[in-house]
Symmetry: C2
Subunit: 539 residues, 2 copies
Amino acid sequence: MNAMSSPLLLRTLFERAVQYFPHNEIVSREDDNVFRYRYKDFGLRVRRLGHALEALGVRRGERVATLAWNHYRHLELYFAVPSYGAVLHTVNLRLGDEDLVYIVNHAEDAVVFVDLDLLPVVERLAPRLRSVRAYVVLDSVLPSTRLRPVFAYEQLLEGSRSDYAFPTVDENAPAGMCYTSATTGRPKGVVYTQRSLYLHTLTLGLADVLAVSEYDTILPVVPMFHVNSWGLPFAGVTMGSKLVLPGVRPRPEDLLRLIESERVTLAAAAVTVGIDMLKVLAEHPYDISSLRYLMLGGQATPQAVMEQYWLRYGVPIFTAWGATETSPIATCAHVPRHRLTEGVEGRIAVHVRQGRVVPGLELRVVDDNGQDVPWDDRTMGEVWVRGPWVAREYYRDLRSRESFGDGWWHSGDIATIDGDGILRLVDRKKDLIKSGGEWISSVDLENELMAHPDVAEACVVAVPHEKWLERPVACVVLRGTSRDEESAAAELRAWLANKFPKWWLPDRFLFMHEIPRTGAGKFNKRRLREELRSLAHEW
Amino acid sequence: MNAMSSPLLLRTLFERAVQYFPHNEIVSREDDNVFRYRYKDFGLRVRRLGHALEALGVRRGERVATLAWNHYRHLELYFAVPSYGAVLHTVNLRLGDEDLVYIVNHAEDAVVFVDLDLLPVVERLAPRLRSVRAYVVLDSVLPSTRLRPVFAYEQLLEGSRSDYAFPTVDENAPAGMCYTSATTGRPKGVVYTQRSLYLHTLTLGLADVLAVSEYDTILPVVPMFHVNSWGLPFAGVTMGSKLVLPGVRPRPEDLLRLIESERVTLAAAAVTVGIDMLKVLAEHPYDISSLRYLMLGGQATPQAVMEQYWLRYGVPIFTAWGATETSPIATCAHVPRHRLTEGVEGRIAVHVRQGRVVPGLELRVVDDNGQDVPWDDRTMGEVWVRGPWVAREYYRDLRSRESFGDGWWHSGDIATIDGDGILRLVDRKKDLIKSGGEWISSVDLENELMAHPDVAEACVVAVPHEKWLERPVACVVLRGTSRDEESAAAELRAWLANKFPKWWLPDRFLFMHEIPRTGAGKFNKRRLREELRSLAHEW
């Protein structure tokens, strides 16, 4: 026995929260209503769910899948499944059928909890799901369904006592699971442990990270099937925050209304959602002044978007970087002490970057030879991360060896690092454009394009080129009504020429109604590249 | 291999700090000067110290003792010794000779680092220290001394390269050590591990605990030989705070001058030091407005002291509770969300109590049968704590079984707990006064006495009584010049009678010039009881 050896378990955080914050609220949007209850009732229902999992025959270590939006029942599963000693597998409901079937079978999920509006998806796929022994519909009563055996969530809970005693498991036991899309092939599984979830949760509470507090009112817009909604449900409950869950398919108006009415202090969403909210705000003046931080992620926040929130609405944008493999928070924006005198301009200049590695993790930016690049903010390299909440492998996947080495996860993200150790993502390794032996950052071009007042969205990808190997093409969604494409292209080219060398300028500007997105809501560059590759032959 | 398994090491926190905060300052008082340097230089010197420890023949896991005040060289040892894989044993320099000899021999310290002004102590004891192979004087040049072999700290560093590569050790390896005084017998040793120091450090950074930040300027007055100065040197460096170390035997004026000139945001000291600073402030108006928190501990902060800081100077008092066995932070004051509307009076009412258990630990208040007491703020019980930074045993000590059971540390502190789970310490189990089958809290009486404007200090202890078993006696230090003791006693008795039942009132009031203190600066109640026991025969 060593001197101090209690295990790091999510259960400890949960039990403290419901015991010490019985009055604090959890709010969950349901169509045009909001459902409200308190931590005390939340805690009792989580314990009921413990009995229900036992009644369903779930064994310790088995995977329990959810196909669900952000709502209170999903939150109950977030705490009940790991506390029970099983593994919460949050399935990305935006994936295609083949990927869904693959991951449920690969994870060998024993039970699937599914939202009513996603029931058709599960019914369609059920005959191909080999390991699933039961389905639970996240609703009060059982709808008509072909699934068997199938239960209604509320009926399961009603039939269970509210006193389940969660076990003490090994801290290295698996507790959560998430699949991440791969450049080639099927999604890859990342397993979170009791310990990694516990440590990541504490990290979000650090004053110099997200400072999650009992006094916060947190709106996690980022889906709970997307890297645990960046850890906010775990951190929020642990600290006793009021939680506001946006429910099924929230529109930007729904989010803004919740921020205004519930006095949200911390919201987290994909950059694209942040852009959509700005469009609505331009038409309708919701009060978002309660926000101490709007956390945007999934891709770099364009400077123009950041400036609008910060300077026009007084809402600071919080930037962080991470991935499924890093639980996800690995870096976060934080103005260095010696730069505090630079004012809001200086703060924005720091926050458009991805920040410094958080305490407890190690980070390197390395060149092709595995050597650290200098902190000169010019030399590009791949970001590597290592630490107690960074994956060391993919779940039962031979592709692990391509991405991990000596404990380091090789992120595939290309970045520079400045004299203060602040990371600036340049691009995905696979999205960088290699033109004539030099690298062009698609992200830098996109940010500058989106800073143009007429541009709503911009996405730059490589197309093959005989002489230069690759050349950039810009796909642009213009604001407002149609205009002459030729003059728009000329104007945007001139706009970029102010900032970038001539050989960086896109060969073509393609104007679209919308840019295709991935299941995670990011620009789908792979698909764009494929479409443009065929187009390029015609040019 | 499990999915995420990097060890929790202090080295990781240190290396990140010196790499990412090279500009940030460490300030150390030296007589009337302040020594200043930056994290970058601090880091290089810590690495030099790594080579020096190797040159001294220190082996991984061996104990390295310090007899030192709070200064930058001690801070270097704080990080170098554990990062090297050895155990930092901070010796309480206020202990008597016999205890000092006992603990150095019991810990089997291999090397002793000693401040110049404490050299006479070590010279006197050296012939009896069986395990010590070398002495290092924490100064630039070697003074005349009989110690052998002996080195000057700065000469050791000058002779070492600044590139020591610290090893990766097991996270459960011992990293620190502290002895705590015992009710009977010699001090008992508590061992901290890499993991426990790492987790405790992160906890101090939580927004709802101490919120230690890069933007803080931290003055740890509590000695670095007293439970790692409550963890502040570790947390401060980890977050990149500016540190202000008060040096050798700082007087209250020195502390106030440092707070004013360095713009300290967070200071931590014994309650008695806080009281002494108030006395100086009454005479000389130092500017302490930069303090966002003054953390007082070691004993309960009297309400009157808290109100003076808070209402007169605008400085909130931060309360926490813990012990050598809990690293030490186990609970801390935090106003529950549903009581935020109560204003400053409500905040003070919460902060005079010891607070709620911090995230990650478990806490119980139990009666004599080991059952949890109700959260009614009336029923008294003993505080038990369990968790990843709570000791499970004393180092090689048979007395462990008296204080530990099933992972729980039995603190010996008696408390009540209110409806919000907020602890209120009533007394030490051994200091409670058992009068006629009922309990009287010595602490409650002391607080009320110290709220009287004429009382500077008060200490209430039990004396044996034939009929009632025990009865309380109050030892009082009056403010200002002498006054008639009989009328003072009558006035204080009337003062207490307003608040407590008649049978609580002390049988006698003894007026003193000062109250005897323990090595840790607390009232020495054991000694007072012994002295009064003999006096009582004469009454």
